[in-house]
Point group: C2
């Protein structure tokens, strides 16, 4: 059996970023925290915390902390004795976090520990047990996980009216798209390229700004830095009021989203799963 | 002299996340891109791209790509011949990105490549040349960089009225803060703890949700998940309209922000520096 008090010390150091803060949370001295973690490292035969600065978890340290989260979640599901407040580690894609998902998270009785899925890692995190569940555009099955389709998020190719008039006087074409600055969330964000290919039939190399935050990405479109695929949920008012224009109203891009969750902790997650499904039904396309 | 066409191939692969997309942007075949990078790796004696999946830069690869950005920026400063559109790599702290900084970036003639500073890495990035400039709360001098004070961002301890009534019926005290869920941006976000200590005089271990996105963090406060330090710029309307309450109107927390930029590329950055200073004067406290 693992040494759970030592795991608790490890998890607090990781979450709070220092031995002092962890000690405070656990009501022990920093040297006791340090001692517990050293003993745990000896037993596991590997370094769990990179002492830094900054203090940071190693990969095995992260896995152990996530394991503790799952054990606590299972304990909470027992409904016996007074449970500690469980911490629920979730991965959520940035645009869902910025639009429809927060109210559902308000239904969680414990504390949420969110990680933003950049569209690529959520499944690795699930597989490694670093998160208990994920809202992701990735439907690939993960061993030990169930996958529910939540609906589709509709994106629209949008730009400010000035930007559209300047760069797309004759509409968006292969030639104008090859010149006009686009917005890109990060290197994994292929939505702009996919849409441009759907529109023109050509694979285009788009000039691009990189704006890795959902709200700032929409702001960049409003301010005329570039055109980009924005979630309809986020920019409906801008379209209605003319702050943004839709470059091709008959060519939205629909991205299916999935709720992938560990079968082991699934029963403990059931109330959250219901809240997520309900919020998705209200916000997403079927 | 470095092989700049090969560096350009490297940079495109990193920014676009695949050899195919880079080839498209450079109008060569994917195998030509691959060949250029292999030759460059042989000459540098190190792996520059982790072929993945996902395709990703190694640390030396990132440094070389950033070097290319700087060379292009200097070229743009020459104002001779028709310059390529320079890419400006910047680090910005999340709350500035969510509030006051985007309009200033709209003044940049080239393309911006933003990285979100989680308060800890911006100086390393500057030192390593991975970004040309940073908006950061860190004033530590970086060799080869200039540091301008931009002003202070005012944070207010805020919660929904229901949350405040339920968890802080007698106001926020050491006892109630030790029980009430707080919001935390990430492990480096000490604002809540600092404020709680300023209020109570005690170092407290706050129970916390982790919400690593500025807008979602404010939404979490509005929805009653927890209390947290929100930028006044972001939640002024909520306070005016009663959607959020200030837990201690006479105890805001002011965080000074700095514009740190490479002295080498400083002249090329001058128009942006002016735009940033002007926007900061309008939005931040002196």
């Amino acid at each position: 059996m693992l040494d759970y008090p030592a795991l608790a010390a490890l998890a607090e150091v990781i979450r709070r970023g220092s031995f002092e803060a962890a000690a405070l949370a656990l009501r022990v001295t920093p040297s006791a925290v340090s001692q517990r973690i050293r003993t745990l490292e000896d037993r596991m035969g590997t370094v769990l915390i990179d002492r830094g600065p900054p203090v940071r978890a190693t990969a095995p340290g992260l896995r152990l902390a996530a394991h503790l989260d799952q054990v606590r979640l299972l304990e909470a599901g027992l409904s016996m004795a007074a449970p500690e407040r469980p911490v629920l580690p979730l991965a959520v894609n940035a645009d869902s976090l910025a639009t429809w998902v927060m109210p559902a998270l308000a239904a969680v009785p414990g504390l949420v520990d969110l990680t933003i899925d950049d569209q690529d890692h959520a499944l690795d995190w699930l597989r490694g047990g670093l998160v208990a569940a994920a809202i992701t555009s990735n439907s690939r099955p993960v061993p030990g996980c169930d996958c529910l389709r939540l609906g589709a998020m509709r994106y629209r190719a949008t730009a400010s009216p000035d930007f559209a008039a300047r760069h797309f006087p004759d509409g968006a074409t292969a030639a104008s798209l090859a010149q006009a600055p686009s917005l890109c969330f990060n290197a994994k964000d292929a939505l702009q390229s996919r849409w441009a290919q759907a529109l023109t039939g050509a694979r285009l190399a788009l000039p691009m700004h990189r704006i890795p935050a959902s709200q700032a990405f929409a702001d960049a479109a409003r301010l005329g830095l570039g055109w980009g695929m924005n979630p309809e949920l986020m920019i409906r008012d801008d379209l209605d009021q003319g702050g943004l224009v839709d470059l091709a109203p008959d060519l939205p891009l629909d991205v299916p989203l999935y709720w992938q969750f560990s079968r082991l902790t699934g029963p403990a997650l059931a109330p959250l799963t219901e809240a997520i499904k309900k919020a998705a039904r209200a916000a997403l396309l079927p």
